[in-house]
Amino acid sequence: MSEHTTQTATPILSVRQLKKHYGGKKPLFGPAPNPLRAVDGISFDVIEGETFGIVGESGCGKTTLGRCIARALEPTDGQMLYRPKDEKEPVDLARLKGKALRPYRLDVQMIFQDPISSLNPRMTLLDIIGEPMIVNGLAKGAEVKRRVGELLERVGLRADHMSRYPHAFSGGQRQRIGIARALALNPRVIVCDEPVSALDVSVQAQILNLLQDLQTEQNLTYLFIAHDLGVVEYLCDRVAVMYVGEIVELSDTERLFDKPLHPYTEALMSAVPEANPYSVRQPKILEGDLANAVNRPDGCHFHPRCSYCVNRCRTEEPQLRELEPGRWVRCHRAEELSLSGASDTLVEGVEA
């Protein structure tokens, strides 16, 4: 997979200065409050066929970013340039609405975190997986049935279960159903929002393997959101590390884990508990809470929690810059610091 990640390849998706702010509307009385900057000026390219990871603490804006890309949310500002299969010119998904957006919706689908709320309890699997096809006029009647059956078998379920309701399935099986629904439209890009974090560890590996198999088979591009570095290292080609709505470091996975450039990345990695490399719920070294996305600290937003903080960090906001080819970082001291990676503390990959 990694041969596709060179900068020369044309990206399938280029996100530019993407912003999603909540609130901040002027009320009837008084001045407008500061908005909550869930996503604040994010830019990156995704290459066709790669798995692009997005990591960060809970509440840093990962889901918001993913939902903007799948256009479940309308971005406040910025561009999302998507290059459709047969068209030379990229289209800006952030600008399109309603009917104009529809043809491109087929290409970008989403897998969700919560196996309970992601499936409509009042629909059978046939309806759940068939609806995307029907809505988009891809299939009708018996054809829907046939394709739903195929999809179910493809994700490791039985085709004759299609008249059952979701409540009859376990968490892992439900995630498979969600994956089948996402595949129903033959998408090119899938936003995976923590698809395994609600599952038991043993089930996690099965779902990750399924995702990998599907990717090679159908040349899928994944935007893989996680807060679990073990999963990210196992699956992703490149990783963006997010902190309060911004990217603080972007790199290929190998070099990132070998030697991170941003103190926040280092802190995330050191927090991996030895016993269970697949859960980073409680980063130990990270003291204090995630910065407030409404009133962020001046200067470097990470400075109150950073153990390398100097005076400059408190006043001057660092910019995202390319330190080495393909390695971007948002830190004043990135050159001088020598941070320790996490690869040695992590188990090598996940063998299912």
């Binding site: 799948a70 256009r71 709320s117 609806e131 009859a168 968490g171 629904r181």
Partner: protein, 381 residues
């Protein structure tokens, strides 16, 4: 959580049609709800009672022994008892009632009835009697029960000697249908308004919320009275019926709207709705296929619990003389008689009958509603 669901499904009693076997046990959420509801014996019994009551209103002419308007010479007669043993101690296989013997209290001139044990009127099933129209279509004269000669007044008679039991059955036609129809009206109003409120949010939402708050803050009976004042007195009964229906629904939609809005807000955030948006389902389709089916069970619960209020509302308005009026017969109209202290004190069967009907039906709807509330969310404890 999922584990729990699966276990519970496994522990559920097998469906009644498990004998078919081949269906390889597909359990729909509706069936889960039904199983859960069935566990509440009181709710099931109440449900059966209500079904029978509504059936009786449909076949009112057949169920009631007399026409509700036909008068007899037995004015203010108390209910007759059903007997199997006569005065001589002989056992009759067929139940019977005794005739009345009327005297007058010489001080008050009130009629005083005693039973005349010489007159025995056996009760029979499917007797021929006064003719009536069934469903407003067919003429018929067979009644569920009655006497061949003499008279039967199991719930007594009123000031015109009209049979109270027949009047109760016909009154149920109006009182029970007001409850259902008006609740259906408020269902439509509540779903639409609550849905708009929950879907669009913002200014529309806060405006609708204020209106609902305002309506809730207004004491119901006074507001009903004020609105009912607008119904012209000279309107024909059918118009008045629908006008009162409208008045009752104009207020009761608020609870439906609140529930619908709350559920809409909660459902809107569910991932399956996001998924539908992402694969391009239109807003109306999302509402129809994803939101409404998931909130209907909650709405049905609110509706079940709203019916008793409507029935009480009709009764109260008619009792106060600003709702339905004679010759229309409803439980509230029947209760108007209780405006007279004389009747309250000396002829209690005239008001206890309709009062009992109201109380039983209201209780039954409450029990069914309680059971339904528990079943509405089949995946919870």
């Amino acid at each position: 959580m999922t584990q729990m669901v699966d276990e519970r499904v496994a522990n559920m009693p097998p469906p009644a049609d498990a004998a078919e076997g081949v269906s390889n046990r597909i359990i729909s959420p509706t069936r889960l709800m039904w199983w859960k509801f069935k566990k509440h014996k009181l709710a099931v019994a109440s449900g059966i009672f209500l079904i029978l009551a509504y059936l009786a209103t449909i076949f009112a002419g057949f169920v009631s022994p007399y026409d509700p308007a036909s008068r007899s010479n037995n004015l203010y007669a108390p209910p007759q008892g059903i007997h199997f043993k006569d005065a001589e101690g002989n056992f009759h296989l067929q139940p019977f009632v005794y005739g009345y013997e009327m005297t007058r209290d010489l001080d008050t001139l009130r009629p005083v009835y005693t039973t005349d044990t010489d007159e025995i009127y056996p009760l029979r099933l499917f007797v021929q009697g006064e003719s009536y129209r069934l469903f407003g279509l067919f003429d018929a004269d067979i009644h569920l029960f009655g006497v061949e000669d003499g008279y039967v007044h199991l719930a007594g008679t009123d000031d015109f000697g009209r049979d109270m039991l027949s009047r109760l059955v016909y009154g149920a036609q109006i009182s029970l249908s007001v409850g259902i129809i008006s609740v259906l009206l408020s269902l439509v109003l509540g779903l639409v308004i609550g849905g708009i409120s929950g879907l669009y949010g913002g200014m529309i939402d806060s405006f609708i919320q204020r209106v609902i708050e305002a309506i809730i803050a207004i004491p119901t009976i006074p507001l009903w009275l004020g609105l009912a004042a607008a119904v012209p007195r000279d309107w024909p009964p059918v118009y008045q019926y629908f006008a009162i229906l409208a008045v009752l629904s104009l207020i009761s939609w608020t609870s439906t709207a609140r529930v619908a809005r709350g559920r809409f807000l909660a459902l809107r955030e569910q991932d399956f709705v996001t998924a539908a948006k992402v694969y391009g389902a239109s807003q109306p389709r999302i509402i129809r296929k994803h939101l409404v089916p998931n909130l209907m069970s909650y709405v049905i619960v609110t509706l079940t619990l709203a019916v008793p209020n409507i029935i009480i509302g009709e009764t109260a308005l008619s009792f106060l003389g600003v709702g339905l009026k004679p010759p229309t017969v409803s439980w509230g109209v029947l209760l108007q008689e209780a405006q007279s202290v004389q009747i309250v004190q000396f002829y209690p069967w005239i008001w206890i009958g309709p009062a009992l009907c109201v109380i039983l039906v209201v209780l039954a709807f409450n029990f069914v509603g309680d059971g339904a509330r528990d079943a509405a969310d089949p995946f919870s404890r």
